[in-house]
């Protein structure tokens, strides 16, 4: 593969590229689903190809092709240079890359069981077993389950001498039970909605999720939601479970700290950010107990944002994003690092596959757990009147990441330290910094989970990327609840 990459780099540099890198990628994926007692889909996919990214005349060019023959690779490299020259027709200044020491490296996602080594029969039997448990509960009108496995092997070679061979594995599993009755559709999901839990691990993740063990409870909750009362509207203290808080972090911290958004590079599609450069180390993002990191290192955990090197050859790093409530860091790349006074990239550039341009993506953006021991039950016990909300159902935020609204699948009203009743259709809304400044309690490490968001969309053409978000259940004071259902 190194030889194939060298064909590309040679042609690019011969044609005048001042910098070039090549990524050769082979991807394999398996997707299995069931729906109400039947296999819904069963598919395997493989894709391989190469991309060349070049700087020429101070501007970027990028070309990709499935053709890995010498002729094809050289043509792709030449095309990338031609595109860069066209880019240079409309530029204000030359692209400047932060220096990065060349490395020769091998890296593979630590895993115990290769997910592709588990037979399809075994996987389907697991899904149908879950399905049967869900539909054993009277009232369930639809049951859906899914298992997903991915393997991506990449060779990254640059004109600066970097040569990295990296193989990443990820796995995901989940299910949902639906009930349609009395002109209302209610749903419960496990371990999370929209595909369940995902991590960069092997099949051992699936074994640990206790999927079958939780199926009856989830189905019973879906049925019970039809008897529950509507979540009250007003200002409440709310407790978010760790999966919902993971998505809250994703939307209201992860996206606004992307430096390409801040610099206006995403203005036409994903949007910009309220975190203008003057806010670095001056904005009180959250309360004193809010500590958030962007950590791609293995020691943070097997999140979907965990890797050895990013897709421009920068090693995984940990960047403090919010420190004791103060905004302290952005997600950066070699091109953007200098705009915040850094002389090195934060290592966050990733691409969806061989034919997409790497761009700034969240790694694992995690809220660190509370220091003092605190369980969810203790947090509930210390809450006088509030709503516990679990498992995301809807999410929306404006294009500068100020105003958000989230809906959850299930809520529980808390009075005098006790859950007193289930409520349906819970939702809450607010303004990002006001919300994070209202945080007054975070459960401790035992309650902390590194959740995976497998479907983060960004870029033109749009790319889907997996990101990680560690969180423990937390309490926010005086939050607006219920406006989603007001007057609609």
């Amino acid at each position: 593969m190194k030889e194939i990459a060298s064909w590309a780099l040679n042609v690019a540099t011969m044609r005048g590229a001042s910098y070039a890198d090549a990524r050769i990628v082979g991807q394999r994926s398996r997707a299995l689903t069931t729906k109400s007692g039947k296999v819904g889909s069963a598919s395997d996919a493989e894709s391989a190809g190469m991309s060349v990214r070049v700087l020429s005349n101070g501007a970027w060019g990028f070309a990709a092709s499935e053709d890995l023959s010498r002729t094809g690779v050289e043509a792709t490299a030449a095309r990338a240079v031609e595109i860069a020259r066209a880019s240079a027709q409309v530029k204000q200044k030359d692209v400047l890359l932060a220096p990065e020491k060349p490395v020769l490296a091998e890296w593979t996602t630590p895993h115990v069981i290769d997910p592709f080594s588990i037979s399809v029969e075994q996987n389907i039997a697991l899904l149908l077993n879950i399905d049967s448990e869900l539909r054993a509960v009277a009232g369930i009108t639809l049951a859906e389950t899914n298992l997903n496995f991915n393997r991506e092997e990449q060779w990254f070679v640059s004109s600066e001498g970097t040569d990295i061979h990296q193989t990443k594995y990820s796995a995901g599993a989940g299910y949902a039970a639906y009930v349609f009755a009395d002109n209302e559709i209610q749903k419960r999901s496990y371990p999370n909605s929209y595909g369940g839990q995902w991590q960069n691990r092997g099949y051992e993740l699936i074994d640990e999720l206790k999927l079958v063990e939780n199926a009856r409870r989830i189905a019973e909750e879906a049925v019970a939601l039809h008897r529950a009362e509507q979540c009250p509207e007003g200002a409440f203290d709310i407790i978010l479970d760790s999966s919902q808080l993971g998505l809250q972090i994703h939307e209201s911290i992860g996206h606004p700290i992307e430096l390409d958004r801040v610099l206006g590079m995403e203005a036409n599609f994903a949007g910009t950010s309220f975190l203008t450069l003057d806010k670095l180390r001056t904005l009180r993002y959250g309360s004193e107990i809010v500590n958030v990191v962007a950590d791609a290192r293995q020691e943070h955990g097997p999140g979907l944002g965990t890797f050895g090197f990013d897709d421009e050859g920068v090693p995984a790093q940990c960047t403090p994003i919010i420190t004791n409530g103060l905004f302290t860091g952005y997600l950066s790349s070699r091109e953007t690092a200098h705009t915040i006074g850094e002389n090195r990239s934060g290592g966050t550039l990733r691409a969806e596959g061989w034919n997409r341009l790497p761009m700034i993506r969240m790694t694992n953006i995690s809220l660190l757990p509370g220091v003092k021991p605190l369980t969810l039950e203790q947090l509930i016990a210390s809450t006088d009147h509030g709503i516990l909300m679990q498992t995301n159902r809807s999410w929306s935020i404006d294009d500068r990441r100020y105003n958000f609204q989230f809906g959850c699948e299930i809520g529980w009203e808390i009075k005098h330290g006790k859950r007193v009743r289930m409520v349906k259709n819970p939702s809450y809304s607010g303004i990002t910094t006001e919300f994070w400044n209202s945080l007054d309690a975070i459960c401790s490490r035992d309650e902390w989970t590194l959740w995976g968001t497998p479907n983060c969309g960004k870029g033109q053409p749009q790319q889907v990327m997996g990101t990680g978000h560690g969180a423990a259940p937390s309490r926010f004071r005086g939050i607006k609840v219920g406006s989603a259902y007001k007057g609609s």
Partner: protein, 467 residues
């Protein structure tokens, strides 16, 4: 790009490698290029070429799919073997139909079904766009921004794509298409404006006009005022209409009815929307794009989904229609037959209409006429981050973006800070007071459609953001 003849040769090799009862091959390919700009600079500029072959095999009611982007014999043998291995371990599905032959897929006049023909959607001028041409187009857009002392961001893309289907019962179909697209955001110090358009024929795009409109919106919405959230008469431009109504079309599906996850469950045949709402699915419409056949090769039929506010029917894949005919819902869902809207098998979604065309109103009004007849309301350019809040009442939430204006006494008065809405689509389409002539429109939250601008009463804004 692969030719139909080359694709046929690939299918012949796959057939030889397959031991399945039935074999189906989907081929897709695309030459895609996109020039992206921001801060008045081309900052990303990409091109890629890829083809994919996807093989579905069937053994006695068991089916599965595998795909690859390599077409040498070893790769094709491997993809067939993967598909067969996956299929053989499935449980037999008594509802799985034999693959359609070409006669069934094309439709038979004796059964009252006409084969669907679409106009050519492949234009050499679009396929031949070079990086230099795209850069030259972007340069002109940047010059508009500089003339108005604005910053611009956006894209200029071009593509040439193919879709082909072959199966062992003799079916073979092929579609090629080109598409050029321009999307432009103009940014002022505290305001923005946006426009987007696409067409298979690049000659039909006018990037300079789009840039001027986007710039005017940015200039006119400068120093936005905050007005309280609440119910307003709202004029939605076509892109805003398509992005919000797009969230209901997943439910116009036989599978969604069978799954009881559609907001149309129990409502087909009822007056759900205002009498001025008529919606078709029509792949043949001259402003539409896309292939005339579905994931099994069935030709797409042109169908009325809503007539004068009454929901008439949903669409069906072949297997879904067969299951519906045996179900408890069969007498409550209008006509039940395969309509050519299925996704590639196996899948859990079933089908959906993808070529939405709103019928022209009896008395179309221009945007200016809608504004002139509005005592107090809000003009919306674009909606953003729309998500479903309630699946049966079809309440969706989202934000306004890139040009939101206060209308008073029949005139656009000034820019407004953006709103969050929580709006039932059923209520919205029951309260449409005026519509324009439908146009091809493109947004970011839903697929492209032919939709009008709409003036809607009592649109439900629930919050205001900070800009």
């Amino acid at each position: 790009m692969l030719t139909r003849e080359q694709a046929g040769e690939i299918f012949d090799r796959i057939k030889k490698f397959s031991s399945a009862d039935e074999t189906e091959v989907l081929l897709s390919g695309c030459n895609f290029a996109l020039t992206r700009f921001a801060n008045n600079t081309i900052h990303q500029n990409v091109a890629d070429e890829n083809h994919s072959v996807s093989v579905r095999t069937v053994f006695g009611g068991r089916t599965a799919r595998a795909s690859t982007n390599k077409f040498d014999d070893d790769s094709l043998r491997r993809v067939v073997a993967s598909s067969e291995a996956l299929a053989k371990v499935q449980h037999p599905d008594p509802d799985l139909l034999s693959m359609p032959d070409s006669q069934e897929a094309a439709g038979s006049p004796s059964k009252g079904v006409q084969s669907t023909q679409v106009p050519s959607r492949h234009f050499e001028q679009t396929a031949a766009i070079t990086p230099q041409l795209r850069a030259a187009g972007v340069k002109k857009i940047v010059e508009v921004a500089q003339k108005h002392k604005l910053i611009t961001a956006g894209i200029f893309s071009s593509s040439e794509s193919l879709e082909g289907i072959f199966n062992s019962r003799g079916l073979s179909d092929w579609h090629t298409q080109t598409l050029a697209e321009v999307s432009i955001t103009m940014l002022g110090a505290d305001s923005s404006g946006w426009q987007k358009a696409n067409s298979p024929d690049v000659a039909k795009l006018d990037p300079l006009n789009l840039a001027e409109i986007a710039a005017k919106k940015a200039l006119d919405s400068a120093h936005p005022a905050e007005v309280p959230a609440g119910k307003y008469a709202v004029i939605l431009e076509p892109a805003a209409v398509l992005d919000i109504v797009g969230f209901m079309f997943w439910d116009y599906s036989g599978t969604a009815i069978l799954d009881e996850r559609s907001f149309l469950s129990g409502r087909i045949g009822s007056q759900l929307f205002g009498e001025n709402i008529t919606i078709w699915d029509d792949v043949t419409h001259p402003l539409q794009t896309g292939s005339p056949f579905d994931g099994e090769g069935m030709r797409r039929l042109t169908l009325p989904l809503v007539e004068n506010g009454v929901v008439k029917r949903v669409v069906y894949a072949r297997g879904t229609a067969a299951r519906m005919k045996k179900s408890e819902f069969k007498d409550k869902v209008g006509p039940v037959s395969a309509t050519g809207h299925g996704f590639a098998l196996p899948n859990e979604i079933g089908e959906m209409p993808l070529n939405i065309v709103f019928a022209a109103p009896q008395n179309p009004q221009t945007l200016d006429q809608m504004i002139a007849s509005t005592e107090r309301g809000v003009l919306v350019t674009r909606l953003w981050y729309i998500r479903e809040v309630d699946p049966y009442e079809k309440i969706v939430t989202g934000m306004t973006r890139d040009g939101t204006f206060l209308v008073e006494n029949g005139k656009v008065q000034r820019g407004l800070r953006n709103f969050r809405f929580n709006q039932s689509l059923i209520h919205m389409l029951s309260g449409v007071e005026a519509m324009s002539v439908p146009v091809r429109s493109s947004g970011e939250e839903s697929f492209d459609m032919v939709v009008p601008a709409m003036k809607v009463r009592d649109f439900n804004f629930t919050e205001v953001t900070k800009f």
